[in-house]
């Protein structure tokens, strides 16, 4: 991997983390509990055309959702 490619990878990781943080911030702002994420996740998967496997997407969002719920006041 070239240094430029490594740099791009780090930038993508940083963006993913920033977006996860921003998702948490939004949840912390809203006063009512958001609707269940299951339907939204299935909707997301139906539109998902990338190479990341569906099982992995479910797992990933499951972890994000769980941690956001734990941190949320």
């Amino acid at each position: 991997m070239t240094p430029a490619e490594q740099h791009q990878l780090r930038a993508l990781d940083r963006a993913i983390l920033d977006l996860v943080d921003e998702r948490l911030r939004l949840l912390q702002e809203v006063e009512s509990r958001p609707p269940s994420g299951t339907a939204a996740l299935e909707d997301l998967l139906r539109r998902h055309t990338g190479g990341f496997p569906a099982g992995g997407v479910r797992e990933l969002f499951g972890v994000i959702d769980r941690h956001c719920s734990e941190i949320r006041p």
């Binding site: 940083r14 920033d18 977006l19 943080d21 921003e22 939004l26 702002e29």
Partner: protein, 350 residues
């Protein structure tokens, strides 16, 4: 010139230098920067005195501002970019803000309907014109003071601070009486110097739009009028400039955004609606503005743009506006910033 002292420089030394400069006929102004003393010098600094300052042990350096005699708003006058508090919404810094509302206040119910729509979509500040600078004298001129009242009432009802354009120095008391959180000086009045001086004196947040044919130097000089007149809460707003291109209403000059970041500490907003005049182009231009470093965008929203009394073709529908806010949040996150938190609603308001 901008004289930057060492952090922790003794106050008596700063005062001594200040008096020395004033005796030399310079106008000396002090930065609001709390971390170290910074002085701005207006007038001609003699070479011998410049050398004396550069050699002074309490002085870190002496810089020329990017625009001659544009001092108080120059980047070098602050350690960090400044943040302006508009009724609890902090414009500048890490957060990105979205200002939205009707072009013109068109009546009590109409402005309240738009206020509710933009509030629920995620707007931070409600905009609305009560005094309208129209090209044609027969076009709708706005409801004047009654419009200010309706705008403020709508803002209070939904818990959003409000911004509205002031066109005449004689109207300053009306803006204060109706507690308008931010006074907008429009493109056509950017160089109305008596208006700038009158608005500066009341030290309210000011949104200073760029004139339609103004250079950055002229724009920053107008901001300097506000700052030197006592206004410590100035924000700039790029809204497109007049060019040879006729396909859009104006040409959005995003080129100057990163340059402005280097030249001034003031927060920078972008109004893509007036720049292009075409509603469907606004989402892309908003994203481009945030990507180029804007601290926020100002757009127009109407429940039925076809019946709007001004600028209907550039008004977004509430759903389109909600998508714009969502895009702004995602883009802000990717850029390492974040969408400003929603303002807290006043108790009992909805």
């Amino acid at each position: 010139m901008i004289v930057r002292f060492q952090a922790g420089a003794a106050e008596e030394v700063v005062q001594e230098v200040r008096e020395r400069l004033e005796r030399a006929g310079l106008r000396v102004m002090r930065s609001l920067e709390p971390s170290r003393p910074i002085l701005a010098l207006a007038g001609k600094l003699e070479r011998s005195l410049a050398k004396e300052l550069a050699a002074h042990e309490a002085i870190e350096r002496v810089d020329s501002p990017p625009v001659p005699d544009v001092l108080l708003v120059a980047r070098g006058m602050r350690e960090l970019h400044s943040v302006v508090d508009v009724g609890g919404v902090r414009v500048g810094g890490r957060g990105v803000v979205v200002i939205a509302g009707p072009c013109s206040v068109e009546g009590r119910e109409a402005v309240l309907d738009v206020a509710r729509a933009v509030r629920s979509a995620g707007a931070h500040i409600l905009r609305g014109g009560a005094f309208k600078p129209r090209t044609n004298p027969y076009a709708f001129q706005g409801f004047g003071v009654e419009g200010l009242r309706q705008l403020k009432d709508a803002g209070e009802a939904v818990g959003l601070p409000v911004v509205s354009e002031i066109m005449d120095a004689a109207d300053v008391p009306a803006f204060l009486e109706h507690d308008i959180d931010c006074l907008q000086i429009g493109a056509r009045n950017m160089q109305n110097f008596s208006l700038l001086k009158a608005v500066a004196r009341v030290n309210r947040p000011v949104l200073l739009k760029r004139g339609l044919a103004a250079t950055v130097e002229e724009w920053l000089s107008a901001a300097e009028y506000l700052a030197s007149g006592g206004c410590e809460q100035v924000m700039l707003c790029e809204r497109g400039i007049r060019t040879f291109e006729k396909a859009t209403r104006n040409t959005l000059d995003l080129t100057i955004l990163p340059l402005l970041r280097e030249w001034t500490h003031l927060p920078i907003l972008v109004d893509p609606a007036h720049a292009c005049g075409i509603a469907r182009l606004i989402p892309a231009l908003s994203r481009a503005s945030i990507a180029a470093g804007a601290d926020g965008v100002a757009v127009e929203v109407h429940l039925d743009p076809s019946t709007a009394r001004s600028d209907g073709p550039q008004a977004l529908l509430p759903g389109e506006f909600a998508s714009l806010v969502a895009d702004t949040r995602v883009l802000s996150g990717v850029l390492g910033r974040n969408l400003h938190p929603a303002p807290r609603a006043a108790p009992g308001r909805a």
